[in-house]
């Protein structure tokens, strides 16, 4: 069953077409990743889904019913984790949860129980009576998530929940998302960090400039790329026998050796890394290994001609990838 | 004079606020005289108007302190004193225009009841500088917007009352009169009173000089605040 569905959705802000005939579904129990650069329309799409914005045209269905801003009954079954941290700084964490969960109809002992559970879930139990102005950024993000969870939503919409926080808090949040999914919550997870979406999502929708440019599982999307997988390795005893063994692996298109570095080129989707590593065991073991595998960023690059993360602001020192075809030419 | 130019530009980005703060008070020029007050009512209260106008105009500077823009300014190659000084000049220009309009209107409407209009304008202009310095210094102190607004407005109200802007200090007990002398408002009242009584010009000049000293003092206080 589809928990949610956007059909031919159009939303315009003055001269900007934020959603341009967008279609996608969210299946029950899945984590759907919504990926795209800044300005792609992700936030507009999820605000429309959450009933915060009316569409100019098209339909939204939630839990098999038509969604629009006046549907408070549907909002009861939703949880929204906003991109900005939207908690009251002058109320403690517990009080924040009490307020928001109270508006979802929770009362008395049930409310207290759910608050305690949620605080435990996000790891804020011992800070429950402190006010968020004393929290770190990661803790505020976790509280931001908790405010959307206490009432036990069936569909959780998370809008870039890990922006601007440390890796430890980020990992905690990602782990929490996996746990929620295991408990049966359906999740729409938006981000422009493709590694998060790759790690979490069963299916991905990629948006750019208001359009859906691709959707499917990560494997399906990557498999569409006319790319090859490359593995660069050094073994203890490089020999022709080793090279022959590697060439015999299914999917391998080319094996070259330059100095001590052996490069194995396989067809996209071959996923030959483990087989190559196994082959190396009988030849003095592995000295070094580097995999050059296409990912969602490559998908986006192929489809749009630009990087998922604006190179001007990436600043991570990461070398921007060049994609090459089997004959070594640039894709 | 980049800060000066942009302070003016920011002031005019909010024309409704400018209209409310600078144009509306000009209606006070039409208020009649009241027995017991030396000046027409509107001019009796004009010092308080200038004091609060300065505060309302400088809200954007308060917001700069709160939003962290001061940090960025702190990293720029200009001193806090220069930043505050150029901002003060920009808004002083706006208030000068208001003062000139007020005195001009008053001269037309109130006629001879207004003493020495050019010197009255000078007194209001110098007091404008002082008022702006007070609000600049106060606004630079706070990191929370609401606390800044509330604390400053309460402080200014008390300052206006103690300083004699609302009622003649002659009717107050002597000890309050002594306290009043350490407020800048007292010296505006002194300057205007001197003009009204046709008093010695030296006394008038002294009052202005004291107000200038207050301006410098508040500016220095405001510039000593750490910008980060």
């Amino acid at each position: 069953m589809n928990m949610a569905n956007l059909s031919d959705a159009v939303k315009r802000y003055d001269s900007v077409l934020a959603l341009d005939h967008v279609d996608f579904d969210i299946g029950e129990g899945e984590i759907l990743g919504l990926l795209g650069p800044n300005g792609a329309g992700k936030t507009t799409a999820i605000r429309a889904l959450a009933g915060l914005l009316p569409l100019d045209s098209g339909t939204i269905r939630l839990f098999d019913q038509e969604q629009h801003p006046g549907r408070r009954d549907l909002k009861r079954r939703l949880g929204l984790v906003t991109q900005e941290i939207t908690v009251f700084e002058d109320l403690s964490a517990r009080e924040n949860l009490e307020f928001f969960a109270g508006l979802y109809g929770l009362r008395g002992a049930e409310l207290r129980r759910r608050i305690a559970e949620t605080l435990e879930f996000v790891g804020l139990t011992e800070y429950a009576d402190l006010r968020p102005r004393k929290y770190s950024g990661g803790m505020k993000r976790r509280l931001n998530i908790a405010c959307a969870l206490t009432h036990g939503p069936e569909l959780l919409i998370m809008d870039e929940p890990t922006v601007g926080i440390d890796p430890q808090s980020r990992n905690h949040i990602l782990e929490s998302v996996r746990t929620l999914r295991a408990r049966g919550t359906t999740i729409l997870y938006t981000s422009h960090y493709m590694e998060e979406v790759e790690a979490l999502a069963s299916r991905v929708v990629i948006m750019d400039q208001g359009h859906v440019i691709a959707q499917g599982s990560v494997e399906e999307l990557v498999a569409r790329l006319p790319y090859e997988e490359r593995v660069h390795l050094e073994v203890g005893e490089p020999s022709e026998a080793f090279l022959a063994r590697v060439r015999a692996i299914h999917g391998v298109k080319l094996v070259t050796m330059e100095g001590l570095v052996i490069t194995v080129v396989s067809a996209s989707g071959s996923d030959n890394l483990n087989r190559v590593v196994q082959a190396a065991q009988g030849h003095g073991g592995l000295r070094s290994l580097m995999e050059d595998k296409p990912d969602l960023e490559d998908v986006f690059l192929t489809l749009t001609g630009k990087s998922l993360i604006d190179p001007a602001i990436a600043g991570s020192g990461k070398v921007h990838k060049r994609r090459v075809n089997g004959d070594g030419g640039e894709a | 004079m980049t800060v000066f130019r942009f302070a003016l530009r920011r002031a005019f980005r909010d024309p409704l606020n400018l209209l409310l703060v600078c144009a509306l008070p000009l209606g006070a020029a039409f208020l009649p005289s009241v027995e017991g007050l030396g000046l027409p009512l509107g001019f009796q209260m004009y010092g308080a108007i200038v004091l609060f106008d300065a505060f309302l105009l400088l809200r954007s500077v308060v917001d700069d302190g709160v939003s962290g823009v001061f940090q960025r300014i702190g990293a720029a190659p200009l001193t806090p004193l220069r930043y505050l000084g150029e901002t003060l000049l920009a808004y002083a220009l706006i208030l000068f225009v208001q003062n000139a309009a007020m005195v001009g209107l008053g001269t037309l409407v109130q006629g001879g009841r207004l003493p020495a209009p050019p010197l009255l304008l000078l007194a209001y202009t110098v007091f404008s500088l002082t008022s702006l310095s007070i609000s600049l210094a106060g606004g630079a102190l706070f990191r929370d917007r609401d606390t800044a607004y509330q604390s400053l407005s309460a402080f200014l109200m008390v300052l206006a009352m103690i300083g004699g802007l609302f009622w003649p200090l002659e009717i107050m007990p002597p000890f309050l009169g002594r306290i009043a002398t350490i407020t800048p408002c007292y010296w505006l009242v002194e300057a205007v009173d001197t003009l009204r009584r046709n008093g010695p010009l030296g006394h008038y000049a002294l009052s202005l000089a004291v107000m200038v000293l207050f301006s410098i003092a508040f500016l220095l206080v405001g510039s000593r605040r750490r910008l980060v």
Binding site: A50, L52, K75, T82, R107 | L20, P32, G36, L37, M45
Partner: protein, 251 residues
């Protein structure tokens, strides 16, 4: 529990934790009343400022009580702004309650806080400074009327204007302007009919003062009733305006 009550209760707690505002709207008027009431007790009774004033302490107590109630509308402006004109609005719009409930709860809490502050001023001035407030129910009715009007005026300005700073400025003009026009700060030339009207019925401050003054049986309760009716009618008018604007802006 009704969403309005949940929002109201939470906003009430938040407002009570807002120490600067509490100090501003409670301590400052008490200090002003104490100082000015004492100081002006020394002043000759025939000076223009004190003409017709039987008790300077009572004059300043009633004056600053109403003045700071007029300022109290800033609560509604600040907290509605923080809820519905900030990123918080996305979370609140996602809740299964209407934006109207949030506004109503917030304004309700602000009215209650402001009213409590006013009643505390009445209590302290009555006990510590010997101010005779007369009929307490009348005082409560007057305070409630002024507070409601102030909250709804500030709210209407917030909803009507794009710039919240300008809305606050208008609120201050409303509060200060009423007090000046009512004769709290400067004596008005009440020999002129226009200024006499202004000082008795011409603005919220004057209406409140007239209601407080005329409300005792030996004076003119009918006048007090009229003043209260005008204040509540004005509050109702701003309530309607605010509701219309909220429907358009917060949909």
């Amino acid at each position: 529990m009704n969403p309005v009550l949940i929002v109201g209760r939470t906003m009430f707690i938040r407002m009570l934790r807002d120490l600067p505002s509490l100090i501003m709207l409670l301590l400052v008027p008490l200090v002003l009343i104490a100082i000015l009431g004492s100081v002006f007790s020394w002043v000759p009774a025939d000076i223009p400022y004190m003409r017709g004033v039987a008790s300077p302490m009572a004059f300043f107590a009633a004056g600053f009580l109403v003045m700071f109630q007029l300022f109290g509308g800033g609560y509604s402006l600040t907290y509605v702004k923080g809820a519905l004109f900030s990123p918080m609005r996305w979370r609140l719009y996602g809740l299964p309650c209407s934006p109207g409930a949030i506004v109503l709860g917030t304004v309700g809490a602000a009215t209650l806080v402001s009213l409590c502050q006013g009643l505390l001023v009445v209590l302290v001035t009555g006990l510590a400074f010997g101010v005779d407030w007369g009929s307490l129910p009348l005082v409560v009715l007057v305070l409630l009327a002024v507070t409601l009007l102030s909250q709804l005026f500030y709210l209407t300005m917030l909803l009507a204007l794009r710039n919240q700073g300008t809305a606050m400025t208008l609120g201050w003009f409303f509060a200060y302007g009423s007090c000046v026009a009512g004769g709290l700060i400067f004596p008005l030339p009440v020999e002129r009919p226009f200024f006499r009207f202004l000082a008795t019925y011409g603005n919220p401050y004057s209406l409140a003062q007239t209601a407080l003054r005329e409300g005792s049986p030996q004076n003119n309760p009918a006048v007090a009733t009229l003043c209260l009716a005008v204040l509540y009618a004005a509050a109702a008018l701003f309530a309607l305006l605010a509701a219309r604007l909220a429907k358009r802006k917060l949909a």
